[in-house]
Amino acid sequence: MGYHEINLTINGGPEQVRVTSNMTLMRMLRESLALTGTKNGCSAGECGACTVLLNGEPVNSCMVLAVECDGAKVITVEGLASDQQLSPIQEAMIHVGGVQCGFCTPGMLITSRALLDRNPNPSEEEISEALVGNLCRCTGYIRIIDSIKVAARDKAATT
């Protein structure tokens, strides 16, 4: 099985990694780089716990080969805060109570961030639709949706 040397940017920093053909982006992040914020919930593209931003768009990193990411920009949950300042969606999740066990949280944050980037003022229905690829078993989604509404409002207030 072949090895590939890839160069990519992760959370703003350059990385050079040696990967096998069959290594998914998720496994590369978690195992080669110890970026364990991205979670493995199913390895089948169904639960969304492994969601990261790949060139600005959310993907299930368990369904992307690491070797496909040569030259790519990846953002994981670890890259959402800057200089210890949490992003609006992270703050909102804390205060609105959108976090319980926390396992779906990184994926939810990435998907939410992408949603607010492309649609700064989403309706409740648009939020619900955007989140269907992120399964949660604890919260019932209610406070996650509310967190996004609060983050959208807070972002609008500061821009």
């Binding site: 364990t36 991205t38 493995n40 949950v77 805060a81 109570g97 779906c104 269907v132 019932g140």
Partner: protein
């Protein structure tokens, strides 16, 4: 007089403080078991599993697997003769002579990576002699069925579990109260119904994971996603023949448990394999597919209800028979049977009760604890029967419940008395919130609208001597470190523990840190994080520890100031005197004591508080009648109401509104209590509309997210309301009781009752899929064929 201008004296109890672990979870810093870095020595385990539901193992050949480069160990049941189990020791770590369900572990491999381990598993050759299986609990209970556990009579079993050796019945719980036979004759209306509740699974987003390392000395360490580090220590040590102190369990954050990560399921496999590669950590991570059927599942239930009331709507008698499909091993599930037994009337006062609750072995996946512990399965049918009985005598369903629901001093099915409860208030509030009695028109011509309501109750199902403990340590910076043995799996245990410690000692919530991850070497003992018992039980231990530490502080300061401790208090981390108005920060004496007068020495020392709690009053129950004075510690009660629409073109159910009211005694953190109500409602809706482990010939046909559907963000009701009712529990911390499980218990019958209101149809059991509903409407002539 107190200097109030510099002090804020609000107690964190009752405040919706933000989660103590929220920041680490939103930044990705939070560590779960699969995130821990173990370095190059880490080996990976995979398990060889039985493809047959019931078979004898004739031969296992592991030579080819052992020969594969990269394989470090292969183990089978031959290496591990011990039995393991919580209430009934009925299984081995690896099967020894017989497999009892599809997925039963037969062999284990440790290799340098998961791919090689998987290849090795495929090289293990097993010869089976297929045996006749049991797939139905009623059949399993009959004398015709083959015996799945011929040695049942020899298993070690808890004293309150009553197996029937020579049968597949691993527990038979009975209630015999009053005289149902003559009571039927006095009834104006009698309802008899059968319900079949399918197996479902917990579906935590984090699958089960365990990493084990055994040293040359024989000492073992287990890192795992666990609700029960101490129970795991106990059970696994015993099975392996080591002592509890030689078995260390370290339990980081849990990515969802719902009961599935309680007791021991797959964790013993990792420890067993690790004994063969001393000094190497061995990781076993279940695939999502394995998670669906090889850890724990929720038992199936076949339930027969018979209940009757007089012409005033007073319940006179109930006769219930429960056949629990316990699966291949019922070491944990036997207690579900018991819990359903003593709760069998539902939250109603009934003078005459006859109940038989059977836990039955079948060749199905292993039934274990799942949120509600038998209550959702039981209430699913019971609360529908209540509606039907009310209808039969022409009484409104809410009025019927109003008359019969338990109140303070009601006599329970087990003969004891009900404590003060806000159940009636929950009923009224839920009914009001759903606008009970008023029917809105459907939103379109092809819809039918309905409302339904259901009550529930549940007691923490645990041995009478389940204990909690806690310690408190103060630091020079004024921080209070709280040691607990409970786990936070999302329900918020760590947060409320901090709130309670802060309130009981006298510091702000923000000054409390938890000593986590829970580590059985350092953390104080906790029976298990199950049964919605932690706020109540660990809370009491925390108060005890906080008061112990307070006493040390106040005694010391009183001595230093020549005052009496009764005149002192700790407020916001300051020791204050009401008499002299002196004050001193606690941190000044946290570790170093205080000087005696005139430089003559020192007094005090490091402040460390300890607390312990174990209920002392739970009595046994008579094995023939199920009667006893104090069957359980307490009940949490509540109500849910649902408004929904049925689509006549597809049969799809659209939940428009869900309301819940639960009596939690005291909401330590109101927002978190509501969050439990919300999460439980959605998980309840999911179990009512979508979820079912489709078992055919013992094989789960849908072990993946593709075909085991759970609610997504698009499936939640537009309107959800959560109402907190507080009727204090006499021995609860600030009056608190649990809420974690209860919010999922009444949802199936509330929805079923609403469907009946909409289209006049009931079903033998959930899930109420669109297909099931549509075909039933077709048969009933509501839609055309």
């Amino acid at each position: 007089m107190i200097k109030t201008d510099t002090q804020k004296t609000s107690s964190p109890v009752g405040e919706s403080k933000p989660r103590i672990d929220a920041r680490e979870k939103v930044t990705g810093a939070a560590l779960y078991a699969d995130d821990i870095q173990f370095g190059n020595k880490l080996l990976h385990a995979r398990i060889k599993r039985s493809p047959h539901p019931h078979a004898m193992i004739k031969k296992i050949d592991v030579t080819k697997a052992l020969a594969l480069p990269g394989v470090k160990a292969v183990v089978t049941g031959e290496d591990f003769p011990g039995y393991i189990g919580l209430y009934l020791k009925d299984r081995h770590i690896f099967c020894r002579d017989r497999v009892r369900y599809v997925g039963d572990p037969v062999a284990g491999v440790a290799a340098i990576n998961p791919e090689i381990a998987e290849q090795a598993v495929n090289l293990i050759e097993v010869e089976y002699e297929v045996l006749e299986p049991v797939f139905d609990p009623e059949y399993g209970a009959s004398p015709k069925a083959p015996l799945l556990h011929p040695d049942l009579g020899e298993y070690t079993v808890a004293s309150f579990i009553l197996p029937q050796p020579g049968s597949n019945i691993s527990n038979h719980f009975k209630i015999r109260k009053g005289d149902v036979t003559s009571a039927w004759m006095k009834c104006k209306a009698v309802i008899e119904r059968k319900y079949r509740i399918p197996h479902i699974q917990h579906v935590p987003i984090e699958p089960h994971v365990a990493i084990a390392k055994v040293e040359e000395s024989g000492e073992a360490t287990l890192w795992d996603s666990s609700q029960s580090p101490f129970a795991q220590r106990d059970l696994i040590a015993e099975t392996l023949g080591i002592t509890q102190s030689e078995m260390r369990v370290i339990a980081p954050l849990v990515g969802g448990g719902f009961g599935g990560k309680a007791g021991v399921s797959m964790e013993s496999l990792a420890v067993a394999i690790a004994t063969k590669v001393k000094g190497y950590p061995v990781k076993l991570l279940l695939t999502r597919e394995e998670e669906f059927f090889t850890a724990f599942v929720r038992q199936g239930l076949v339930a027969y209800f018979k209940m009757g009331c007089d012409n005033n709507g007073q319940l006179l008698a109930m006769e219930n028979t429960f056949y629990w499909d316990g699966g291949a091993y019922t070491e944990y599930g036997v207690n579900i049977t018991r819990a359903a037994g003593y709760s069998c009337t539902g939250p109603y006062e009934v003078a005459n009760v006859k109940t038989d609750s059977y836990c039955i072995y079948t060749n199905h996946p292993v039934g274990g604890p799942m949120r509600g512990f038998g209550m959702p399965e039981m209430h699913a049918g019971l609360e529908q029967c209540i509606d039907e009985l009310a209808l039969e005598i022409g009484m409104d369903a809410v009025e019927f419940r109003r008359r019969n629901c338990v109140k303070a001093d009601s006599i329970l099915a087990t003969g004891g008395k009900m404590h003060p409860t806000g159940l009636s208030e929950c009923l009224e509030k839920a009914a009001e919130a759903i606008d009970w009695g008023w029917k809105a028109p459907p939103s379109a011509p092809n819809k039918r609208r309905g409302k339904g309501l259901a009550l529930m109750w549940k007691a923490p199902a645990m041995p009478g001597n389940a204990g909690s403990s806690a310690w408190i340590e103060l630091a020079e910076d004024g921080m209070l470190t709280l040691g607990v043995g409970c786990q936070d799996m999302g329900q918020g245990a760590f947060t409320v523990a901090a709130q309670m410690a802060a309130a009981a000692f006298g510091v702000p919530y923000e000054s409390v840190r938890l000593a986590t991850p829970v580590d059985t070497r350092f953390s104080p003992y906790e029976w298990q994080t199950v049964a919605s018992r932690i706020t109540w039980s660990t809370g009491n231990a925390i108060i005890h520890a906080a008061h112990d530490a307070r006493r040390q502080v106040l005694d010391l300061v009183a001595k230093a100031w020549d005052e009496t401790p009764q005149d002192l208090d700790i407020v916001n981390g300051m020791v204050v005197s009401f008499r002299s108005e002196r004050e001193i920060p606690v941190k000044n004496l946290a570790v170093a004591g205080l000087p005696k007068a005139d430089d003559t020495g020192w007094m005090g020392g490091p402040i460390i508080g300890r607390g312990s709690f174990m209920p002392a009053y739970v009595t046994g129950l008579d094995p023939d009648t199920g009667q006893g004075e104090h069957a359980v510690v307490h009940f949490t009660t509540g109500a849910q109401a649902i408004e929904l629409e049925v689509d006549l073109d597809t049969g799809k159910i659209d939940i428009l509104k869900g309301v819940a009211a639960f009596d939690v005694g005291r909401a330590i953190n109101p927002d978190m209590v509501k969050a439990q109500m919300e999460g439980g409602l959605i998980q309840g809706i999911s179990s009512a509309l979508f979820e079912c482990l489709q078992l055919k010939d013992g094989i789960v046909q849908n072990p993946s997210f593709v075909d085991y559907r759970i609610a997504t963000s698009a499936d939640i009701p537009k309107s959800v309301q959560s109402i907190i009712v507080e009727v204090p529990q006499d021995d609860g911390p600030w009056g608190a009781r649990g809420i974690g499980e209860h919010s999922m218990v009444p949802t199936i019958p509330a929805i079923a009752n609403a469907i009946y209101d909409a289209i006049g149809i009931r079903f033998e059991g959930p899930p109420f899929t669109a297909e099931k509903v549509y075909l039933a409407m077709l048969e009933a002539g509501i839609v055309k064929g």
